[in-house]
């Protein structure tokens, strides 16, 4: 039964590759570098979606990484004991919220708020950057990045927390005995020791962000374009598949969507493998918390 996982891996790869055959034949490598998505002329390319996937995930990481790592540090090193357990539970619950609910909340609560409050502020403060220029109509790349950040924060936080907890107590004691303050202990004995593992946690979060579908689809605006400004609507590989699949007409259209799926699978699997390797080499066979 355990071998089922290999069957599943093979099945996913095979099925996507099979579905992509017509598009693979027609476009070849060109598919990856073409920015056309034109059902009229039956010409398809993945570039805008690869771009959108990378940009939205990057925004998510920029927001989520410092917050998550700081929270993990707070939870394992600095917080009073009675705060820890409830806070951990809150974070686990946040991770449990279905993506569609986050997207729904994002669309009806967060996006209007961003439009009314955050974006005008960003525009006036950072408007000298092209990234924060131009009109916004609500759903956009930045909104997608923010919702993704909310979604990956619990993962990065809890994996980082496990990593930090696996730092030997002796390391901390060594620093305390030198007369270090709590923060200094964290910095010299804990964080430097856990660097690699935390990096693994971040990459794991990245893998999740790259493939996230529903929440992104609902707030990104679903437009097959390269965004110059983060206020513009865009698309990711996952959101474009979700958005177009039911409307697809013609074999090549379908096949191209399969190929987007294949690209997405390739990217996320590579990223996940990288993350798993980092985490597994960090603390022996497993970084599960010691109950």
């Amino acid at each position: 039964m355990a071998l089922a996982v290999f069957v599943l891996v093979a099945l996913i790869g095979y099925e996507l590759a099979r579905g992509s055959q017509p598009a693979l034949h027609k476009f070849g490598w060109h598919f990856l570098f073409s920015s056309d998505w034109d059902p009229g002329s039956d010409n398809y390319g993945a570039l805008p979606f690869i771009f959108g996937t990378l940009v939205s995930s990057l925004i998510a990481l920029v927001i989520a990484v410092p917050i998550s790592v700081a929270t993990a540090v707070y939870l394992t090193e600095l917080a009073p004991l009675w705060v820890r357990q409830p806070l951990i539970m809150f974070i686990e619950l946040l991770a449990a919220i279905p993506s569609v609910i986050l997207g729904f909340w994002g669309l009806f609560v967060m996006v209007p708020w961003l439009h009314d409050h955050l974006f005008p502020g960003l525009r006036s403060m950072l408007g000298f950057l092209p990234l924060f220029r131009g009109p916004d109509y609500g759903p956009c790349m930045l909104a997608a990045g923010i919702i993704l950040a909310i979604m990956i924060v619990p993962i990065i936080t809890s994996v980082s927390r496990e990593i930090l907890r696996s730092v030997p107590g002796l390391q901390r004691e060594a620093a305390y005995a030198l007369g270090a303050t709590r923060w200094e202990v964290t910095r010299i004995a804990v964080l430097s020791y856990a660097k690699k593992g935390i990096f693994g946690a971040v990459i794991l979060g990245l893998g999740r962000a790259l493939g996230e579908t529903m929440a992104v689809t609902m707030v990104i605006g679903n437009s097959p374009q390269f965004v110059a400004s983060l206020f513009q609507p865009g698309s990711t590989l996952a959101s474009w598949i979700a958005n177009q699949f039911t409307e697809a007409i013609g074999d090549l259209f379908y096949s191209s969507l399969f190929e987007l799926g294949l690209v997405l699978l390739g990217v996320t699997v590579l990223v996940n493998i990288f993350a798993q390797l980092l985490l597994k080499t960090f603390a022996g066979p497993s970084v599960k918390p010691q109950h």
């Binding site: 002796l170 004691e173 060594a174 305390y176 030198l178 007369g179 303050t181 010299i188 020791y193 660097k195």
Partner: protein
């Protein structure tokens, strides 16, 4: 409860070694939750001498040691009563931070614990850098001085920037001693510093301890009777959290006044 430093019953006059005591412990009790780890211990620890704390495991000797630089406070359940004065300063006084106490009272642990991500030299200087010493010349001087005192200089002087974990177990422990010495503490606490080392490395550490007492006050916890006999000037025997007997090492090992001490040092229990 300010108590005069005149000797309570269990502090023999012999322990009032040359000059004022480095540490004056009065009625020290340490609790973990409801358990008492150290019960009403009073003793003076002589400056520039080696004091060994011996006793069977679980007798409170490590807890006693950790109370001297307030390391026991890392356990949130821990609580203490009594008083410890370090060269006259009450280290548990309200306005004294544990951080300051630990800078004045260094510690070496049972298992060597160099910072694995740092080089040898960074391990030695980390305490100084925390304390705001940035002058490269001072740092370099102090590095050499500390490593020499820890009898490690000749072995590592050509590879100061190698990772600390590239050293052997015994070298790592001496590096930890050098790290503790670099901030020039007034007292050095050692918690079974050689218990994880082979005999050769152990004898190096013992030689080092004898050598270091010229400048430092050393308190060492050990369960190795020979080690206490060889390396220390004074010995305190703890049993079940209480101080049973305290005096010059020769006396404790040759003519102890308590039956329990005699049984322990002669290996009849423990």
């Amino acid at each position: 409860m300010p108590e005069t430093a005149t000797s309570p019953l269990n502090v023999p006059p012999e322990s009032k070694a040359p000059g004022a005591p480095a540490l004056a412990v009065r009625n020290l009790s340490v609790f973990f939750g409801k358990n008492v780890a150290v019960k009403k211990v009073s003793l003076d620890i002589a400056a520039r001498a080696v004091t060994a704390i011996i006793g069977p495991s679980g007798c409170g000797k490590s807890t006693f040691l950790r109370a001297i630089n307030r390391m026991h406070e890392l356990n949130p359940e821990a609580r203490m009563e009594g008083e410890i004065k370090l060269f006259g300063d009450d280290i548990y006084s309200r306005n004294v931070e544990p951080v300051v106490v630990r800078r004045r009272v260094g510690m070496v642990f049972q298992k060597s614990n160099p910072f694995p991500t740092m080089s040898i030299v960074d391990n030695v200087t980390v305490g100084l850098r925390l304390n705001g010493v940035g002058n490269r010349k001072v740092l370099a001087e102090r590095t050499e001085q500390s490593l020499r005192m820890a009898a490690l200089w000749d072995e590592v002087k050509d590879r100061l920037h190698a990772p600390a974990i590239s050293l052997s177990g015994g070298q790592q422990q001496r590096l930890c001693i050098a790290r503790a010495l670099a901030v020039e503490p007034e007292v050095l606490l050692m918690d079974e510093p050689a218990s994880a080392l082979d005999p050769l490395a152990t004898s190096k550490i013992e030689d080092l301890i004898v050598h270091l007492k010229k400048e430092y006050t050393i308190v060492i916890v050990t369960h190795n009777m020979q080690q206490a006999a060889r390396a220390s000037d004074f010995t305190a025997f703890f049993y079940l959290g209480e101080l049973v007997e305290y005096g010059p090492t020769t006396k404790i090992f040759t003519s102890p006044s308590q039956k329990r001490t005699e049984d322990y040092v002669t290996g009849r229990f423990g």
